[in-house]
Amino acid sequence: MAQQPLELILLRQLASYLAVPIWVADAEGNLIYYNEPAEGVLGRRFDEAGEISLAEVGGLFEICDQDGNPMPPNELPLAVALFEGRPTHGKVKMRGFGKPWMRVDVTAFPVEGQGGRVLGAAVLFWEIAAS
């Protein structure tokens, strides 16, 4: 495994100290880090499961808009931050398989580093209430 860019290393270090659930994705959309509070969203601990590939992420939970309509993959906050290169914020419903639906505020932002390097994205979650 090659060394990650400094910006992602620093983001991981910061995320590991925060109480807000955060995912850190690389430029391909693989979850290269998620902090302990994100376990509630993913059902996995980074220390045990490690990196989660983009292909695998979609299989870990269901996500839909507030009215319960499925969201197209390119409208998911991570995809918007990563592939459109802009921050995004929205309310969604999501659940891990076998778990209750959660209403969640999601903020995603692109990680563009020094020299315009597109390095990945970060996604923050805030559970509004179980429903």
């Binding site: 495994m1 060394q3 400094l6 910006e7 991981r12 020094q114």
Partner: protein
């Protein structure tokens, strides 16, 4: 490739008889390779004396700056090659996200901090935003990467004829670790250091001092040893000594570290001003 240390002190020069052997000048390292060409890492106060050795046989000078903190550029205004008419001088350093090297450097090389403007220097000056990745400087293959230190800061990995020098004068790879156990994927500077024949690295603090200076961008000597071991470097040269640490204290820190070095298994070379070594 040969290397000479012209300044090994961190932060601000130290003067007086307590600082004679390790030296009081701030960061400056000369890399001697291709004939007629001088390559310099950082322009701390040590660069002034280096500049005096640049004779008429030299046709090109390349100065690679790790970053623009004062202790790495304060010798620049007193570096003779900049005042040598028509000498080809190239300065490389990190741009920021909004300013290029020329704008950033001009903040120092302009009044009121310095009486001469960059554009009035008589040498043939070219400024480069150091590219992240690989580039050539004469016979040297250089790789630059961002490393953990406040503000845009580069480490350099320089290779010639299969031998490699890594240079990270200001670096805090242990930032954010609860206990520093470098992993290749998640440690700043690992890629630059990995397998280098010689690593010149920040060793500013003792463990106790580091506890009070987390986030200041520097390493405890123990962190430097741990990184050197994890990255399997050939030899470690300590650098950027704290301006308050006397020769006697530095001897003691290195002697204590050498006890650990038995396990660490990386030859430890105290970075002293004037030291030369073959990479």
């Amino acid at each position: 490739m040969n290397v000479k240390l012209w300044g090994t002190r961190g932060s601000v020069p130290s003067a007086g008889h307590d600082f004679v052997r390790y030296g009081g000048n701030t960061s400056c390292v000369e890399v001697q390779a291709q004939e007629g060409w001088v390559t310099v890492l950082d322009a701390g106060s040590g660069v002034r004396a280096l500049g005096e050795t640049v004779g008429p046989e030299i046709t090109r000078v390349d100065l690679l700056l790790s970053h623009l903190h004062m202790d790495h550029i304060q010798g620049l205004g007193f570096f003779a090659p900049l005042f040598t008419p028509d000498l080809d001088v190239h300065i490389w350093g990190p741009a920021s996200t909004t300013l290029d090297m020329r704008e950033r450097l001009a903040r120092y090389l302009s009044p009121p901090l310095f009486p001469v403007l960059l554009r009035d220097l008589p040498c043939k000056l070219t400024l480069h935003n150091t590219p992240l990745g690989n580039f050539e400087v004469g016979s040297l293959s250089v790789e630059a990467d961002l490393i953990c230190h406040p503000g845009p800061t580069l480490g350099y990995r320089i290779t010639e004829g299969g031998r490699t020098l890594a240079y990270m004068p200001d670096h805090e790879p242990a930032l954010g670790f609860r206990s520093f156990q470098p992993e290749k994927e998640w440690t700043s500077g690992f890629k630059l250091a990995e397998g280098a024949d010689v690593l010149i690295h920040d060793a500013q603090y003792t463990n106790d001092e580091y506890e009070g200076k987390i986030g200041w961008g520097h390493s405890a000597l123990s962190h430097t040893l741990i990184l050197a071991k994890a990255a399997a470097v050939g030899r470690l040269v300590t650098f950027h000594h704290d301006p308050a640490h006397t020769d006697a204290q530095l001897d003691q820190f290195h002697a204590d570290a050498e006890l650990e070095c038995g396990e660490i298994d990386v030859p430890l070379i105290p970075g002293q001003e004037g030291l030369t070594l073959k990479v």
